[in-house]
Amino acid sequence: MTLPALGDLAVGQEVARRTLTVDRARLVRYAGASGDFNPIHWNERFATEVGLPGVIAHGMWTMGAASSVVSDWLGDPGATLDYQTRFARTVPVPDPGQAEVEVVAVVGALDPESTTGRIDLTVTCDGTRVLAKCQALVRLS
């Protein structure tokens, strides 16, 4: 397995795009897997009592799911060296139904010296950016 070659990439180039779906069952699963049992992610009554429109996705679910899009493009999840975001907006998750989160990954910068690249992720829900300054520094070949 070879990582994407730096020489084949250009700043501004889109390298991956995926629409992720999230429903309440997914949030319960993430709560269990991550140990984040904050009731705003599974309890409608609690969420509305604290002023939210309803149950919202864990920001860390959104961040984690978006990173998989980059990992699949790289072919090696261990090639992500640095990954950061600000949580700009919440992702309300309806019941019944599901929310859709769109992830678009674009080359933000390339560094031939270290053979790394910065991948900038645009992560939106209903056309609104939910993650801000979402960037992954990745190893290339």
């Binding site: 397995m1 992720l20 997914r26 699963r29 993430y30 269990g32 897997a33 991550s34 140990g35 984040d36 904050n38 604290v50 920001g59 860390m60 679910w61 961040m63 984690g64 799911a65 990173s67 998989s68 990992s71 699949d72 072919g75 090696d76 999840p77 261990g78 992500t80 060296l81 640095d82 990954y83 950061q84 975001t85 600000r86 949580f87 992954a136």
Partner: protein
């Protein structure tokens, strides 16, 4: 009760090791839709040069959370978790976390600041292997809404 600014600058002693298991990594990978075989198939992970299945990049939050609890669950810190919003998160990986790792974490409280009715708490979890090898650093900022916000 407001967040206690005296906790800023505090560095906690290394916590009890977290032992990374294959089943836990599979469970976490499935939850975030990380379908790459290096998370679940030891042979696929070894083919890429890893000793065992590896964690998705954000799994380190699970390890960090245990250390952050030392601050968040301390009544003296005054953090009302029902008023907490996650503001930002950053992972720096020196190498991927893999099954079989025994990881200790040192929690640093880098800053506690007040801004427009919000208390901003920035923590940094420095995660190392049992032998002291640096593995990852997880930085996180929580915003705590004040009583009247």
């Amino acid at each position: 009760m407001a967040v206690n600014p005296e906790f800023a600058g505090r560095v906690y002693p290394p916590n009890e090791p977290y032992e990374v298991g294959r089943v836990k990594l599979r469970e976490f990978a499935e939850a975030v839709g990380a379908t790459h075989p290096t998370h679940t198939d030891p042979a696929a992970a070894r083919a890429l040069g890893y000793p065992d299945v590896i964690a998705p990049p954000t799994f380190a939050v699970v390890v960090a959370q245990r250390a952050e609890a030392q601050l968040i669950q301390d009544p003296a810190a005054g953090i009302d978790f029902s008023r907490v919003v996650h503001a930002d998160e950053r992972f720096v990986h020196h190498r991927p976390i893999h099954a079989g790792d025994r990881l200790t974490t040192v929690l640093h409280v880098d800053a506690i600041t007040e801004r427009a009715g919000l208390s901003m708490i920035t923590t940094r979890c420095v995660i190392s292997s049992e032998t002291g090898e640096p593995v990852a650093s997880v930085s996180s900022t929580l915003a705590v809404r004040g009583e009247d916000a």
